[in-house]
Symmetry: D2
Subunit: 109 residues, 4 copies
Protein backbone atom coordinates (compact mmCIF):
# COMPACT_ATOMS: atom_id res chain seq x y z
CA UNK A 1 0.00 0.00 0.00
CA UNK A 2 1.71 3.19 -1.14
CA UNK A 3 0.91 6.82 -0.30
CA UNK A 4 -1.16 7.49 -3.38
CA UNK A 5 -3.39 4.42 -3.10
CA UNK A 6 -4.11 5.19 0.54
CA UNK A 7 -4.90 8.82 -0.26
CA UNK A 8 -7.27 7.72 -3.00
CA UNK A 9 -9.13 5.34 -0.65
CA UNK A 10 -9.38 8.10 1.96
CA UNK A 11 -10.73 10.54 -0.63
CA UNK A 12 -13.28 8.04 -1.93
CA UNK A 13 -14.40 7.30 1.63
CA UNK A 14 -14.70 10.99 2.51
CA UNK A 15 -16.82 11.60 -0.59
CA UNK A 16 -19.00 8.54 0.10
CA UNK A 17 -19.64 9.81 3.64
CA UNK A 18 -20.54 13.31 2.43
CA UNK A 19 -22.88 11.83 -0.17
CA UNK A 20 -24.45 9.39 2.31
CA UNK A 21 -24.99 12.18 4.83
CA UNK A 22 -26.68 14.38 2.27
CA UNK A 23 -28.80 11.51 0.95
CA UNK A 24 -29.88 10.53 4.47
CA UNK A 25 -31.21 14.06 4.88
CA UNK A 26 -33.46 13.46 1.85
CA UNK A 27 -34.88 10.16 3.08
CA UNK A 28 -38.54 10.01 4.12
CA UNK A 29 -37.65 8.94 7.63
CA UNK A 30 -34.80 11.32 8.53
CA UNK A 31 -35.30 10.58 12.23
CA UNK A 32 -34.24 7.01 11.59
CA UNK A 33 -31.00 8.16 9.91
CA UNK A 34 -29.71 10.53 12.60
CA UNK A 35 -26.97 8.22 13.90
CA UNK A 36 -25.87 7.58 10.32
CA UNK A 37 -25.73 11.32 9.54
CA UNK A 38 -23.58 11.98 12.61
CA UNK A 39 -21.09 9.22 11.94
CA UNK A 40 -20.92 10.18 8.23
CA UNK A 41 -20.10 13.73 9.33
CA UNK A 42 -17.24 12.63 11.59
CA UNK A 43 -15.92 10.05 9.13
CA UNK A 44 -15.78 12.50 6.23
CA UNK A 45 -13.76 14.93 8.35
CA UNK A 46 -11.23 12.43 9.69
CA UNK A 47 -10.67 10.92 6.21
CA UNK A 48 -10.03 14.38 4.73
CA UNK A 49 -7.56 15.30 7.46
CA UNK A 50 -5.80 11.94 7.34
CA UNK A 51 -5.39 12.25 3.56
CA UNK A 52 -3.93 15.71 4.09
CA UNK A 53 -1.41 14.49 6.70
CA UNK A 54 -0.37 11.50 4.57
CA UNK A 55 0.00 13.57 1.40
CA UNK A 56 2.12 16.18 3.16
CA UNK A 57 4.44 13.54 4.62
CA UNK A 58 3.66 14.58 8.20
CA UNK A 59 5.19 12.49 10.95
CA UNK A 60 1.82 12.59 12.72
CA UNK A 61 0.09 10.75 9.87
CA UNK A 62 0.25 7.41 11.72
CA UNK A 63 -1.71 8.77 14.70
CA UNK A 64 -4.45 10.04 12.46
CA UNK A 65 -4.58 6.77 10.54
CA UNK A 66 -5.22 4.99 13.83
CA UNK A 67 -8.12 7.30 14.66
CA UNK A 68 -9.36 7.08 11.08
CA UNK A 69 -9.60 3.28 11.30
CA UNK A 70 -11.72 3.58 14.44
CA UNK A 71 -14.16 6.10 12.99
CA UNK A 72 -14.39 4.31 9.61
CA UNK A 73 -15.20 1.04 11.35
CA UNK A 74 -17.92 2.72 13.36
CA UNK A 75 -19.34 4.40 10.26
CA UNK A 76 -19.34 1.11 8.32
CA UNK A 77 -21.17 -0.66 11.17
CA UNK A 78 -23.82 2.07 11.29
CA UNK A 79 -24.30 2.20 7.50
CA UNK A 80 -24.63 -1.59 7.34
CA UNK A 81 -27.81 -1.32 9.43
CA UNK A 82 -29.58 0.42 6.52
CA UNK A 83 -30.72 -0.75 3.09
CA UNK A 84 -30.30 2.49 1.17
CA UNK A 85 -27.85 2.31 -1.72
CA UNK A 86 -25.90 5.30 -0.41
CA UNK A 87 -25.49 3.56 2.95
CA UNK A 88 -24.28 0.35 1.32
CA UNK A 89 -21.81 2.24 -0.86
CA UNK A 90 -20.60 4.21 2.13
CA UNK A 91 -20.13 1.07 4.24
CA UNK A 92 -18.11 -0.47 1.40
CA UNK A 93 -15.92 2.62 1.06
CA UNK A 94 -15.34 2.68 4.83
CA UNK A 95 -14.36 -1.01 4.91
CA UNK A 96 -11.96 -0.55 1.99
CA UNK A 97 -10.51 2.52 3.66
CA UNK A 98 -9.88 0.55 6.85
CA UNK A 99 -8.11 -2.17 4.86
CA UNK A 100 -5.97 0.45 3.09
CA UNK A 101 -5.06 2.12 6.39
CA UNK A 102 -4.07 -1.19 7.94
CA UNK A 103 -1.95 -2.22 4.94
CA UNK A 104 -0.24 1.15 5.05
CA UNK A 105 0.43 0.84 8.78
CA UNK A 106 2.04 -2.57 8.22
CA UNK A 107 4.11 -1.32 5.28
CA UNK A 108 5.50 1.58 7.31
CA UNK A 109 6.71 -0.45 10.29
CA UNK B 1 -17.84 14.71 -16.29
CA UNK B 2 -19.77 13.19 -13.39
CA UNK B 3 -19.53 13.92 -9.66
CA UNK B 4 -17.19 11.10 -8.84
CA UNK B 5 -14.66 11.82 -11.59
CA UNK B 6 -14.52 15.46 -10.59
CA UNK B 7 -14.09 14.58 -6.92
CA UNK B 8 -11.27 12.22 -7.81
CA UNK B 9 -9.45 14.91 -9.84
CA UNK B 10 -9.89 17.37 -6.97
CA UNK B 11 -8.52 14.84 -4.47
CA UNK B 12 -5.53 14.00 -6.67
CA UNK B 13 -4.80 17.71 -7.13
CA UNK B 14 -5.07 18.42 -3.39
CA UNK B 15 -2.66 15.58 -2.63
CA UNK B 16 -0.22 16.69 -5.35
CA UNK B 17 -0.23 20.20 -3.88
CA UNK B 18 0.40 18.94 -0.34
CA UNK B 19 3.22 16.73 -1.59
CA UNK B 20 4.74 19.51 -3.71
CA UNK B 21 4.61 21.93 -0.79
CA UNK B 22 6.33 19.48 1.51
CA UNK B 23 8.94 18.59 -1.10
CA UNK B 24 9.65 22.28 -1.80
CA UNK B 25 10.49 22.65 1.90
CA UNK B 26 13.16 19.96 1.48
CA UNK B 27 14.82 21.54 -1.57
CA UNK B 28 18.30 23.03 -1.18
CA UNK B 29 17.09 26.45 -2.21
CA UNK B 30 13.87 26.86 -0.22
CA UNK B 31 13.96 30.62 -0.73
CA UNK B 32 13.47 30.05 -4.42
CA UNK B 33 10.36 27.92 -3.77
CA UNK B 34 8.44 30.31 -1.50
CA UNK B 35 5.87 31.37 -4.10
CA UNK B 36 5.32 27.73 -5.01
CA UNK B 37 4.83 26.73 -1.37
CA UNK B 38 2.23 29.47 -0.86
CA UNK B 39 0.22 28.64 -3.96
CA UNK B 40 0.40 24.91 -3.15
CA UNK B 41 -0.99 25.70 0.30
CA UNK B 42 -3.96 27.63 -1.09
CA UNK B 43 -4.62 25.19 -3.91
CA UNK B 44 -4.69 22.15 -1.61
CA UNK B 45 -7.25 23.88 0.62
CA UNK B 46 -9.61 25.01 -2.14
CA UNK B 47 -9.51 21.60 -3.83
CA UNK B 48 -10.38 19.85 -0.55
CA UNK B 49 -13.28 22.20 0.14
CA UNK B 50 -14.58 22.05 -3.42
CA UNK B 51 -14.53 18.24 -3.30
CA UNK B 52 -16.45 18.40 -0.04
CA UNK B 53 -19.12 20.74 -1.48
CA UNK B 54 -19.51 18.68 -4.66
CA UNK B 55 -19.70 15.37 -2.77
CA UNK B 56 -22.35 16.71 -0.41
CA UNK B 57 -24.49 18.01 -3.25
CA UNK B 58 -24.33 21.58 -1.99
CA UNK B 59 -25.92 24.21 -4.16
CA UNK B 60 -22.86 26.40 -3.55
CA UNK B 61 -20.55 23.90 -5.27
CA UNK B 62 -20.54 25.89 -8.52
CA UNK B 63 -19.17 29.01 -6.81
CA UNK B 64 -16.33 27.06 -5.28
CA UNK B 65 -15.55 25.35 -8.58
CA UNK B 66 -15.13 28.79 -10.14
CA UNK B 67 -12.68 29.85 -7.43
CA UNK B 68 -10.97 26.46 -7.63
CA UNK B 69 -10.28 26.93 -11.34
CA UNK B 70 -8.65 30.27 -10.67
CA UNK B 71 -6.36 29.01 -7.90
CA UNK B 72 -5.49 25.79 -9.78
CA UNK B 73 -4.51 27.80 -12.85
CA UNK B 74 -2.30 30.04 -10.74
CA UNK B 75 -0.71 27.04 -9.02
CA UNK B 76 -0.04 25.30 -12.34
CA UNK B 77 1.61 28.44 -13.75
CA UNK B 78 3.86 28.73 -10.70
CA UNK B 79 4.81 25.03 -10.65
CA UNK B 80 5.62 25.13 -14.36
CA UNK B 81 8.45 27.58 -13.60
CA UNK B 82 10.35 24.83 -11.78
CA UNK B 83 12.08 21.63 -12.93
CA UNK B 84 11.50 19.50 -9.83
CA UNK B 85 9.49 16.35 -10.45
CA UNK B 86 7.03 17.24 -7.68
CA UNK B 87 6.40 20.61 -9.34
CA UNK B 88 5.83 19.01 -12.74
CA UNK B 89 3.44 16.46 -11.25
CA UNK B 90 1.61 19.16 -9.34
CA UNK B 91 1.27 21.35 -12.44
CA UNK B 92 -0.14 18.38 -14.34
CA UNK B 93 -2.65 17.59 -11.57
CA UNK B 94 -3.72 21.26 -11.45
CA UNK B 95 -4.23 21.42 -15.24
CA UNK B 96 -6.27 18.20 -15.20
CA UNK B 97 -8.31 19.51 -12.28
CA UNK B 98 -9.09 22.70 -14.19
CA UNK B 99 -10.24 20.65 -17.19
CA UNK B 100 -12.43 18.49 -14.95
CA UNK B 101 -13.95 21.56 -13.27
CA UNK B 102 -14.72 23.16 -16.63
CA UNK B 103 -16.29 19.97 -18.03
CA UNK B 104 -18.41 19.70 -14.91
CA UNK B 105 -19.53 23.31 -15.17
CA UNK B 106 -20.63 22.75 -18.77
CA UNK B 107 -22.42 19.50 -17.93
CA UNK B 108 -24.41 21.19 -15.15
CA UNK B 109 -25.69 24.09 -17.21
CA UNK C 1 -11.87 45.50 11.36
CA UNK C 2 -8.45 43.86 11.68
CA UNK C 3 -7.38 40.31 10.79
CA UNK C 4 -7.76 38.88 14.26
CA UNK C 5 -11.25 40.23 14.89
CA UNK C 6 -12.46 38.88 11.58
CA UNK C 7 -10.91 35.48 12.26
CA UNK C 8 -12.57 35.38 15.65
CA UNK C 9 -16.00 36.16 14.15
CA UNK C 10 -15.48 33.47 11.50
CA UNK C 11 -14.48 30.91 14.14
CA UNK C 12 -17.47 31.78 16.34
CA UNK C 13 -19.78 31.47 13.35
CA UNK C 14 -18.28 28.13 12.26
CA UNK C 15 -18.74 26.74 15.79
CA UNK C 16 -22.31 28.09 16.03
CA UNK C 17 -23.15 26.36 12.73
CA UNK C 18 -21.63 23.05 13.84
CA UNK C 19 -23.51 23.26 17.12
CA UNK C 20 -26.79 24.24 15.43
CA UNK C 21 -26.46 21.39 12.94
CA UNK C 22 -25.85 18.86 15.68
CA UNK C 23 -28.70 20.24 17.80
CA UNK C 24 -31.11 20.17 14.84
CA UNK C 25 -30.38 16.44 14.54
CA UNK C 26 -31.60 16.00 18.13
CA UNK C 27 -34.85 17.90 17.66
CA UNK C 28 -38.13 15.96 17.75
CA UNK C 29 -39.00 17.03 14.24
CA UNK C 30 -35.75 16.50 12.34
CA UNK C 31 -37.59 16.52 9.03
CA UNK C 32 -38.51 20.14 9.64
CA UNK C 33 -34.83 21.05 10.21
CA UNK C 34 -33.31 19.54 7.05
CA UNK C 35 -32.77 22.84 5.22
CA UNK C 36 -31.22 24.29 8.36
CA UNK C 37 -28.87 21.30 8.74
CA UNK C 38 -27.69 21.63 5.13
CA UNK C 39 -27.03 25.36 5.30
CA UNK C 40 -25.29 24.96 8.69
CA UNK C 41 -23.05 22.33 7.11
CA UNK C 42 -22.04 24.59 4.21
CA UNK C 43 -21.67 27.68 6.38
CA UNK C 44 -19.40 25.96 8.92
CA UNK C 45 -17.09 24.82 6.09
CA UNK C 46 -16.83 28.16 4.30
CA UNK C 47 -16.21 30.03 7.57
CA UNK C 48 -13.40 27.62 8.50
CA UNK C 49 -11.74 27.94 5.11
CA UNK C 50 -12.13 31.71 4.99
CA UNK C 51 -10.54 32.00 8.45
CA UNK C 52 -7.68 29.83 7.22
CA UNK C 53 -7.10 31.98 4.12
CA UNK C 54 -7.28 35.24 6.09
CA UNK C 55 -4.95 33.98 8.83
CA UNK C 56 -2.37 32.78 6.31
CA UNK C 57 -2.38 36.11 4.48
CA UNK C 58 -3.47 34.52 1.22
CA UNK C 59 -4.18 36.86 -1.65
CA UNK C 60 -7.31 34.80 -2.39
CA UNK C 61 -8.85 35.67 0.98
CA UNK C 62 -11.05 38.39 -0.53
CA UNK C 63 -12.73 35.94 -2.93
CA UNK C 64 -13.58 33.59 -0.10
CA UNK C 65 -14.87 36.43 2.05
CA UNK C 66 -17.29 37.29 -0.74
CA UNK C 67 -18.59 33.72 -0.91
CA UNK C 68 -18.65 33.54 2.90
CA UNK C 69 -20.94 36.59 3.07
CA UNK C 70 -23.37 34.92 0.69
CA UNK C 71 -23.54 31.61 2.55
CA UNK C 72 -23.70 33.29 6.00
CA UNK C 73 -26.61 35.44 4.85
CA UNK C 74 -28.44 32.38 3.58
CA UNK C 75 -27.75 30.47 6.80
CA UNK C 76 -28.95 33.41 8.94
CA UNK C 77 -32.17 33.65 6.92
CA UNK C 78 -32.84 29.93 7.34
CA UNK C 79 -32.06 29.89 11.07
CA UNK C 80 -34.30 32.89 11.65
CA UNK C 81 -37.28 30.77 10.56
CA UNK C 82 -36.90 28.64 13.69
CA UNK C 83 -37.45 29.30 17.40
CA UNK C 84 -34.81 26.96 18.82
CA UNK C 85 -32.13 28.70 20.88
CA UNK C 86 -29.37 27.11 18.80
CA UNK C 87 -30.95 28.51 15.62
CA UNK C 88 -31.25 31.99 17.11
CA UNK C 89 -27.64 31.92 18.30
CA UNK C 90 -26.49 30.66 14.93
CA UNK C 91 -28.42 33.37 13.06
CA UNK C 92 -26.85 35.99 15.32
CA UNK C 93 -23.34 34.60 14.74
CA UNK C 94 -23.95 34.56 10.97
CA UNK C 95 -25.18 38.16 10.94
CA UNK C 96 -22.19 39.32 12.98
CA UNK C 97 -19.87 37.39 10.70
CA UNK C 98 -21.36 39.10 7.64
CA UNK C 99 -20.84 42.50 9.27
CA UNK C 100 -17.24 41.62 10.10
CA UNK C 101 -16.58 40.42 6.55
CA UNK C 102 -18.03 43.61 5.07
CA UNK C 103 -16.05 45.86 7.43
CA UNK C 104 -12.90 43.96 6.52
CA UNK C 105 -13.62 44.27 2.80
CA UNK C 106 -14.02 48.04 3.14
CA UNK C 107 -10.85 48.36 5.25
CA UNK C 108 -8.77 46.50 2.64
CA UNK C 109 -9.81 48.63 -0.34
CA UNK D 1 -13.29 24.96 30.77
CA UNK D 2 -16.50 24.96 28.73
CA UNK D 3 -16.99 24.13 25.03
CA UNK D 4 -16.90 27.70 23.80
CA UNK D 5 -13.71 28.69 25.63
CA UNK D 6 -11.92 25.61 24.32
CA UNK D 7 -13.12 26.28 20.77
CA UNK D 8 -11.92 29.86 21.01
CA UNK D 9 -8.43 28.77 22.17
CA UNK D 10 -8.28 26.21 19.35
CA UNK D 11 -9.29 28.84 16.78
CA UNK D 12 -6.74 31.35 18.10
CA UNK D 13 -4.03 28.67 18.00
CA UNK D 14 -4.94 27.60 14.44
CA UNK D 15 -4.79 31.22 13.27
CA UNK D 16 -1.48 31.83 15.08
CA UNK D 17 0.00 28.76 13.35
CA UNK D 18 -1.23 29.85 9.90
CA UNK D 19 0.18 33.34 10.48
CA UNK D 20 3.50 32.01 11.82
CA UNK D 21 3.84 29.65 8.86
CA UNK D 22 3.22 32.43 6.38
CA UNK D 23 5.57 34.81 8.19
CA UNK D 24 8.32 32.17 8.33
CA UNK D 25 8.11 31.99 4.53
CA UNK D 26 8.89 35.72 4.39
CA UNK D 27 11.93 35.56 6.68
CA UNK D 28 15.40 36.17 5.18
CA UNK D 29 16.57 32.74 6.22
CA UNK D 30 13.67 30.48 5.20
CA UNK D 31 15.91 27.42 5.34
CA UNK D 32 16.29 27.95 9.07
CA UNK D 33 12.49 28.00 9.51
CA UNK D 34 11.58 24.77 7.69
CA UNK D 35 10.88 22.71 10.82
CA UNK D 36 8.75 25.55 12.17
CA UNK D 37 6.78 25.80 8.92
CA UNK D 38 6.04 22.05 8.95
CA UNK D 39 4.90 21.94 12.56
CA UNK D 40 2.81 25.10 12.08
CA UNK D 41 1.13 23.40 9.11
CA UNK D 42 0.22 20.28 11.12
CA UNK D 43 -0.80 22.23 14.21
CA UNK D 44 -3.15 24.53 12.31
CA UNK D 45 -4.89 21.52 10.78
CA UNK D 46 -5.35 19.52 13.99
CA UNK D 47 -6.63 22.59 15.88
CA UNK D 48 -9.21 23.30 13.15
CA UNK D 49 -10.44 19.71 13.14
CA UNK D 50 -10.51 19.45 16.92
CA UNK D 51 -12.56 22.66 17.13
CA UNK D 52 -14.94 21.19 14.56
CA UNK D 53 -15.37 17.93 16.51
CA UNK D 54 -15.86 19.73 19.84
CA UNK D 55 -18.35 22.23 18.37
CA UNK D 56 -20.40 19.48 16.77
CA UNK D 57 -20.56 17.47 20.00
CA UNK D 58 -18.87 14.46 18.43
CA UNK D 59 -18.08 11.59 20.73
CA UNK D 60 -14.66 11.35 19.08
CA UNK D 61 -13.69 14.84 20.26
CA UNK D 62 -11.66 13.46 23.18
CA UNK D 63 -9.39 11.44 20.88
CA UNK D 64 -8.65 14.47 18.76
CA UNK D 65 -8.00 16.61 21.84
CA UNK D 66 -5.35 14.09 22.90
CA UNK D 67 -3.62 14.29 19.51
CA UNK D 68 -4.04 18.07 19.50
CA UNK D 69 -2.18 18.37 22.81
CA UNK D 70 0.73 16.39 21.39
CA UNK D 71 1.06 18.44 18.20
CA UNK D 72 0.55 21.77 20.02
CA UNK D 73 3.30 20.89 22.49
CA UNK D 74 5.64 20.02 19.64
CA UNK D 75 4.78 23.24 17.80
CA UNK D 76 5.33 25.34 20.94
CA UNK D 77 8.73 23.72 21.52
CA UNK D 78 9.80 24.43 17.94
CA UNK D 79 8.53 28.03 17.94
CA UNK D 80 10.31 28.71 21.23
CA UNK D 81 13.64 28.12 19.49
CA UNK D 82 13.12 31.29 17.43
CA UNK D 83 13.10 35.00 18.31
CA UNK D 84 10.61 36.20 15.71
CA UNK D 85 7.50 37.82 17.15
CA UNK D 86 5.24 35.50 15.14
CA UNK D 87 7.03 32.47 16.61
CA UNK D 88 6.70 33.80 20.16
CA UNK D 89 3.01 34.52 19.64
CA UNK D 90 2.46 31.11 18.13
CA UNK D 91 4.27 29.36 20.98
CA UNK D 92 2.11 31.26 23.47
CA UNK D 93 -1.10 30.33 21.60
CA UNK D 94 0.00 26.67 21.50
CA UNK D 95 0.77 26.59 25.23
CA UNK D 96 -2.58 28.18 26.07
CA UNK D 97 -4.34 25.74 23.77
CA UNK D 98 -2.68 22.80 25.53
CA UNK D 99 -3.83 24.16 28.90
CA UNK D 100 -7.37 24.59 27.59
CA UNK D 101 -7.41 21.06 26.18
CA UNK D 102 -6.19 19.60 29.48
CA UNK D 103 -8.74 21.55 31.54
CA UNK D 104 -11.47 20.38 29.21
CA UNK D 105 -10.31 16.76 29.46
CA UNK D 106 -10.45 16.96 33.26
CA UNK D 107 -13.86 18.62 33.26
CA UNK D 108 -15.34 15.90 31.02
CA UNK D 109 -14.19 12.94 33.14
Amino acid sequence: MNHQDLIQKLAVCAAACEHCMDSCLSEDNVQHMVACIKTDRDCAKICQLTASFVASGSRHAQHLIKECIEICNECAAECEKHDHDHCKQCAKACRECVEACKSYQTAQV
